[in-house]
């Protein structure tokens, strides 16, 4: 789960990391009011979960009221890589002389967190990692002990941060690690840490992603989640508790288990179709959940055909069949053709229950996917 910049900055400020003065606004008037309090220059920054906001036109600097109005009108309501901008952060412009990178993330390969510092901040750090990996100093952290103070100093000095700023950058890194640990973050980073013309060290941007599996112990952060969905379908999936990703194709896909659903997507592509979504109903789904899944996929206007691929382990074929019947029997006419493939636990019982007047049945994964792709092609014509 991604936090917005303004949400992360609130956490940073509360923990003692220096951030520029800022106000959140959702209207042009709100922006002008904020700017009148903060003064010029001011940065107007779109609050959406998208990387590279600046390049995409989501961040503008204003030095006059006219510019502020122009920026607010341009950014509020704009579409930024599929996200509509509803809120902007209006922030004091900073006169800086240098930009650094400071972050903590989980190193999957090592299975432990790693702290990273670079004096090449202000640009895409993944690009720096590719082109000049030595420019990023790293220090792995034993999660049982946390980041030792000496380690924080070491990584800052290794990165080549000048002595006069080292203490402040070290303090920011140590606080970032504390926030990373206490909030179950998966990543936390400041890019850039700015060195101002007054020699102050401040966090000019803030990225913080939270481990969704740990939200149960962070109810305050869980509350921030609802406005993080990209579209209505993803919000609906969140309410139903599905793992769901919307894609751009027209063959809807429902299955159980992440690996098998991904494979079903890949096979739709392999047989010449285009997947409309990833939808994993999870293990052990009961009939109502199956019906909800069909409802979700039907309500996606891009979907022309649906393939249901279930290989039961803990999921039972008879429950799935009941759910499909329930979902489809409410329609006078089935809105989109549905192909069903049931295998594994209670698949035979499921096949006996399944109302085959309403769905097409295929015995193998390959046949089911091919039929669904054909259906999609026919409907689309």
């Amino acid at each position: 789960m991604k936090l917005h910049e303004y949400q992360a900055k609130e956490l940073f400020a509360d923990a003692g990391i220096p951030v520029p003065e800022s106000h959140l606004a959702d209207s042009v008037d709100g922006v002008l009011e904020a700017v009148s309090e903060i003064g010029y220059p001011a940065a107007i920054k779109a609050q959406v979960h998208v990387g590279g906001r600046g390049k995409a036109g989501g961040i503008k600097i204003a030095t006059t009221e006219d510019e502020a109005r122009e920026a607010a009108e341009a950014i509020l309501g704009m579409d930024l890589k599929g996200y509509t901008v509803d809120q902007v952060l209006v922030e004091q412009g900073v006169d800086f002389v240098d930009e650094y990178y400071v972050g903590v993330t989980m190193d999957r390969g090592e299975g432990e967190p790693v702290a990273m510092v670079s004096t090449k901040g202000g640009v895409d750090i993944e690009q720096v990692a590719e082109e000049d990996p030595d420019a990023i100093a790293q220090e792995h952290i034993d999660p049982a002990f946390g980041l030792h103070p000496y380690q924080a100093r070491k990584v800052v000095y290794d990165a080549g941060v000048p002595a006069e700023y080292a203490r402040d950058v070290t303090a920011i890194l140590s606080t970032l690690y504390d926030l990373y640990e206490s909030n179950d973050a998966s990543d936390i980073e400041v890019n850039p840490v700015m060195i101002t013309s007054d020699d102050d060290v401040i966090a000019a941007d803030a990225v913080m992603n939270i481990d969704e599996d740990a939200l149960f112990r962070h109810p305050d952060l869980a509350e921030m989640e609802e406005d993080a969905y990209q579209n209505d379908l993803e919000r609906k999936a969140g309410e139903y508790g599905f793992d769901y990703v919307r894609l751009s194709g027209n063959t809807g896909i429902i299955g159980n288990g992440a690996g098998l659903v991904m494979t079903t997507l890949d096979l739709v592509d392999y047989y010449g179709g285009t997947p409309a979504n990833f939808l994993d109903i999870g293990g052990g789904a009961k009939a109502a959940r199956v019906a909800n899944a069909l409802d979700m996929v039907f309500s996606d206007e891009n979907v022309d055909s649906v393939v249901f691929n279930i290989f039961g382990g803990i999921t039972r074929g008879d429950e799935v069949a009941k759910g499909i019947n329930e979902a489809l029997e409410q329609f006078d006419e089935i809105p989109k053709p549905v192909v069903v493939r049931l295998a594994g636990t209670n698949a035979e019982e499921g096949m006996e229950i399944l109302n085959t007047d309403l769905v097409q049945v295929e015995a193998t994964l390959a046949d089911a996917v091919q039929r669904a792709v054909e259906n999609a092609d026919e409907v689309a014509q």
Binding site: G51, M106, R108, G109, G111, E112, P113, E126, Q127, A129, E130, D142, P143, A144, E181, D184, S186, D211, E212, D213, A214, F216, R217, D243, V245, L247, G255, N256, G257, A258, G259, L260, V261, M262, T263, L265, D266, L267, V268, D269, Y270, P275, F278, D280, G283, G284, F311, G312, G313, I314, A343, G344, T345, L365, A366
Partner: protein
């Protein structure tokens, strides 16, 4: 022969009195697994399907001479349950639980380096040596005893590939689900190493997916250390970057690491054929045998 589990494996089920724990204990017993004890704090003295329950894993191991555990404990307590198992000198711990916080697993991972116990998972379907023992939630009826090893990050994809094998009369020595989380115990390399050492395993199927670099490391290991032929499958070719595809670990990062292309080409370079479909994986295995 087989790897990690056989009919001598004696199992304690952590969380045996919960819904899933109870149901799958029954399923494991039906399959013939030696489930000798359960462990649930506060439930010592009870029985589930005739299996005695103890308050701690230590007591269960002591009383029933168990050498493996299966964890069905809810995510909030699973990290602690795995620690308890690791501190009890078991040979194998199988963590089924999905949704264990990653930072809890980082701490577990650190501990794993200090003990001899193997961990499978978390967020895995478990392990089965057909006809001998099943630890976890895999549907026993689709497996058949034979000479092909299988290791996979995904549960239901394992079932799909196994059924493609079994339909052709190709049985399995052992099938292992290593789990779909970012930090897991046993890796592809650990499982491949064990299959390579197992004289009854004549070929191995490896089912990977997007995210991380475990498949690339496995490819390197295969090229340098394996004589047993391996066929592969990689799920997630059509996954967009930055989106978590169900499994917490199944995500292609914005910078393009963890892609299916990178994994497939690493495996191909190591001489491993990678099927476009599960059927093609079974074709490749049939060619090896």
């Amino acid at each position: 022969m087989s790897i990690f589990v056989d009919d001598d494996t004696r199992v304690v089920v952590q969380g045996i009195t919960g819904g899933e724990g109870k149901f799958h204990t029954g399923q494991m017993l039906d399959y013939g697994t030696n489930v000798v004890a359960g462990a649930v704090p506060g439930k010592g003295g009870q029985e589930v399907d005739g299996v005695p329950v103890y308050d701690t894993v230590d007591q269960a191991v002591e009383a029933e001479d168990a050498n493996a555990s299966v964890v069905f404990v809810p995510p909030a307590f699973a990290g602690d349950a795995i620690f308890e198992a690791l501190d009890t000198d078991l040979e194998l711990v199988v963590a089924i639980t999905e949704g264990v916080p990653t930072q809890d697993m980082a701490k577990v991972n650190k501990r794993l380096g200090e003990v001899d116990t193997k961990l499978l998972g978390p967020n895995c379907p478990g392990i089965i040596t057909p006809g001998e023992a099943k630890l976890g939630i895999l549907p026993g009826n689709i497996f058949e005893s034979g000479n092909v090893g299988l290791v996979s990050r995904s549960g239901t994809l394992t079932y799909q590939v196994v059924s493609n094998l079994t339909e052709r009369g190709i049985g399995q020595t052992t099938a292992i689900g290593i789990g779909g989380d970012p930090i897991i115990g046993t890796s592809f390399v650990d499982a491949l190493e064990a299959f390579e050492a197992d004289t009854d395993t004549d070929a191995v199927v490896m089912c990977g997916e997007i995210g991380g670099e475990d498949e690339e490391q496995a490819a390197k290991f295969i090229a340098e250390n394996m004589d047993t032929p391996v066929a592969g499958f990689i799920a997630g070719r059509t996954a967009p970057p930055g989106k978590r595809m169900g499994h917490a670990g199944a995500i292609v990062s914005g910078s393009g690491t963890g892609t299916a292309e990178s994994k497939i080409s690493a495996l191909n370079d190591a001489g491993v054929p990678v099927g476009d479909t599960p059927e093609e994986v079974a074709d490749a295995i049939e060619d090896f045998l």
